[in-house]
Symmetry: C2
């Protein structure tokens, strides 16, 4: 398993964070996700054989949020 | 195809609505979804052979929103 942290711009409330978390958890290859509105970030544990980090960033950005940084 | 409208409580911003819309669009059997923050509602076009209305309502409620009414 691999792990990535995304710094995210554009979440306006806890509802955004909870909904984005479930969206990420339903991506193929994602084992765990947690998203924090207060911290403006997401932590995703994923199987790198099934999904690439760029696809996870794309999943974050699809609803209109922006990934402005990432870290292992 | 069938169609359902849900009246939804708990969305706080357009980000909630956009993210919930993508979550619904990714449910198996859903052909189209649109979610409005201003109207506090969702419209979902789905294949009733693949997904039940109750499952769609559960998908709305999983991030913490509440379905307070539905209509065909």
């Amino acid at each position: 398993m691999s792990e990535v942290f995304f710094q995210i711009e554009g979440m306006h409330c806890d509802g955004c964070a909870r909904t984005l978390q479930i969206l990420l958890e339903r991506e193929p290859g994602v084992k765990r996700a947690s998203v924090s509105f207060d911290q403006a970030c997401a932590r995703v544990v994923y199987d790198p054989a099934m999904v690439e980090r760029s696809e996870l960033a794309a999943a974050v950005e699809r609803p209109g949020y922006r990934v402005i940084g990432s870290a292992d």
